[in-house]
């Protein structure tokens, strides 16, 4: 297990270096030099420009600059926002709980509906239920979620007036120092109606964000289940006279879920990409909206740092999924 872990981590190092090179080159690929970017529209005397370039070290060889950047990264320095003058890491972790809360709710919805739907569809293969679920899954998979979000806002916020249009909680609620997870903070604060308000704000964005993972998980569960149901041991279990419920729930599902776990893990990248759109639609103050806003504000250090932090997040989650896969699938561990 230890060797397995070490070998997985070893593969991550070149990827991390590559990702940091991408983030490093990003600012240097933009038209104009970094000092011009910082000064914006203002005109700057050439001497002053040269002095700042020298002061910030932009006149040194590119390799030295990169190593310097890497050194900063290893010490937790991911740059400073031009707009807010705050460190990128600080901003990231202030907003990160909002995205985690949203993503977790989305993945819970996707798993809670996707796996049972896939299992039943496989068990009743060819039935109207199967065809309906697979049709719905294909529609979900093809959904432009930014449009889907707008539709749900029209229906639930504008026509039915059931849910708020945007934000994380009603304006009447305020928490001084919390965890950043609105559901937990609302519960802990003890304010009346706070939790309900947080839930009603969370529900539409979560459903929108869950749409594509839900479709993928349902499809994957069904095909994994179908594969397992054709195996000899399932036929044996059936021949022994076990009930369909036992065969599917106890024998088949366990093995069918192994590839599904990987699929769920791979959805993290999908979720973060989806969060960019979902958070923009619902004005959800998470890292997806932060990245889009920063691109528009031309706050390039934030874009650079955020890009790198998000890539690292995904790499870490993928590593965890890989390890988890080793834990639940003994065949991988043995190798």
């Amino acid at each position: 297990m230890q060797r397995f872990l070490l070998s997985r981590i070893a593969v991550l190092i070149p990827t991390f270096i590559g990702v940091s090179i991408v983030a490093f080159s990003f600012i240097r690929l933009l038209p104009g030099d970094p000092v011009q970017l910082m000064s914006g529209e203002r005109v700057m005397a050439p001497e002053r420009h040269a002095a700042i370039m020298h002061q910030l070290g932009y006149d040194r060889p590119i390799v030295i600059q990169y190593l310097d950047y890497l050194w900063g990264l290893l010490h937790g320095d991911f740059g400073t926002s031009i707009v807010t003058k705050r460190g990128v890491v600080g901003e990231f972790f202030t907003l990160f709980p909002a995205t985690v809360e949203l993503s977790l709710c989305a993945i819970v919805i996707a798993v809670a509906l996707g796996i049972p739907a896939g299992v039943i569809a496989a068990a009743k293969r060819g039935s109207w239920f199967d065809q309906g679920v697979m049709g719905a899954a294909l529609v979900g998979y093809s959904m432009p979620i930014f449009w889907w979000g707008l539709l749900l806002i029209i229906l639930f916020s504008s026509v039915l007036k059931l849910t708020p249009v945007s934000g994380r909680i009603g304006y009447e609620f305020f928490f001084t120092n919390g965890t950043g997870f609105m559901l937990i903070d609302a519960l802990a604060s003890g304010q009346k109606g706070a939790f309900a308000s947080a839930v009603s704000h969370l529900i539409l964005p979560s459903v929108v964000l869950a749409t594509i993972p839900l479709a993928v998980i349902a499809r994957q569960t069904r095909s994994a289940m179908l594969e397992v149901l054709g195996e000899d041991y399932v036929r044996t279990a059936r021949a022994k006279g076990l009930s369909t419920y036992r065969v599917i729930g106890l024998h088949a599902l366990r093995n069918a879920l192994i590839p599904v776990v990987t699929t769920i893990g791979l959805q993290v990248g999908v979720l973060l990409a989806g969060a960019i759109l979902t958070e923009s639609i619902f004005s959800w103050p998470g890292i997806g909206k932060w990245m889009v806003d920063s691109v528009f504000r031309r706050d390039y250090p934030v874009v650079q740092g955020g890009l790198l932090l998000i890539a690292m997040m995904i790499m870490i989650v993928n590593l965890v999924v890989d390890l988890l896969y080793g834990v639940i699938n003994p065949r991988v561990r043995a190798r």
């Binding site: 990702v19 294909l138 529609v139 093809s142 432009p144 449009w147 806002i153 960019i276 995904i314």
Partner: protein, 313 residues
């Protein structure tokens, strides 16, 4: 008859060697078999028909669009669709906030979506297959280097990377397409490399090499055709992904710029009217959904028909 052919005839081997004419009929037979599998899938057929319609609409846009996609009519702002009160048959699906006909914009928009899909897939497939062939065929450190670079690209959420690339290159449709092609091509590299590595060990490749086929011929003529199945399926999926991603970039204001009647850009412009005029929001998204769904249906059908492992499952 040469002495080799004579010998083959004597051994009865020659009869098994197909002539050129026979080869063509074998190909036709394969196509027929593919079609019979594909057409068994009703969803795939429906998808194919709908997709064909979209292509037709795109080509016939100047003929069938009732209005110009960019002409503004100040007297008809936010006119609802014809079946609602205040709607008019002059604007079947209504007009947007500056009085442009939504139906005409949707019709012209199909040109952009198909163009985006085709171009992105062509770029991603060509680059991806070339890089994948080299990685899989040459192997060694070059293979390792290429695959690490692909890992790096795949480490980013595709939409985020495309968004940042467009920020670097400048917003616009062409830059959006380049960015999307770049984030989609690692899938082709991986697929090509994997199937090349599997096929490389086969006897028929060794035989071709012994006969003296050059590496280029081995890669392109001998090996590549046998790796095409999964690549075609991936290309179909990428086609719909490209349309979705381009629309998403347009929606975020980083793709096609107004007044281009691109579907995602139309949605971005419609956002502020979402509570007043449902039709400006609903129809562009519906157009995206229908097109993408049709392509994905075809993709599912292709996968079932081309992948013998998944056949009959």
């Amino acid at each position: 008859m040469s002495h080799i052919e004579a010998q083959e005839a004597a051994e009865g081997v020659g009869a098994d060697i197909p002539t050129r004419r026979a080869k063509r009929s074998v190909r036709r037979q394969m196509l027929a078999e593919f079609w019979s599998y594909f057409s068994e899938n009703r969803g795939a057929l429906v998808g194919l028909v709908v997709f064909g319609l979209v292509v037709l609409i795109a080509f016939a846009a100047p003929l069938i669009a009732p209005h110009s996609p960019i002409a503004q009519n100040r007297d008809a702002l936010l006119v609802p669709p014809f079946w609602q009160d205040g709607g008019s048959t002059a604007y079947l699906l209504g007009t947007d906030a500056v009085g442009r006909d939504i139906l005409s914009r949707l019709i012209y928009g199909s040109q952009y979506s198909l163009f985006i899909g085709v171009l992105v897939v062509v770029i991603a497939v060509t680059v991806g297959i070339a890089v994948g062939l080299i990685a899989g065929y040459v192997g060694g450190w070059l293979d390792t280097a290429i695959m690490r670079v692909m890992d790096v690209i795949l480490a980013f959420p595709s939409l985020l990377l495309a968004l940042v690339l467009v920020a670097v290159l400048g917003p616009g449709l062409v830059n959006a397409m380049i960015a999307i092609a770049l984030v989609l091509q690692p899938h082709f590299v991986r697929l090509t490399r994997a199937s090349v590595m599997a096929e490389k060990q086969r006897d028929y490749v060794t035989a071709a090499r012994v006969v003296g086929a050059s590496p280029l011929r081995l890669m392109l003529v001998t090996i590549l055709p046998n790796c095409l199945g999964p690549l075609i399926v991936q290309a179909t999926l990428s086609f719909s992904n490209a349309i979705l991603d381009a629309a998403a970039l347009g929606f975020l204001g980083m793709g096609a710029q107004p007044p281009t009647p691109e579907w995602g850009t139309m949605l971005a412009e419609a956002r502020e009217f979402i509570l007043r005029a449902w039709w400006v929001v609903t129809f562009p998204g519906l157009a995206i959904l229908i097109t993408v769904l049709a392509i994905n249906l075809v993709g599912d059908g292709l996968r079932d028909a081309l992948d013998p492992k998944l056949k009959r499952s």
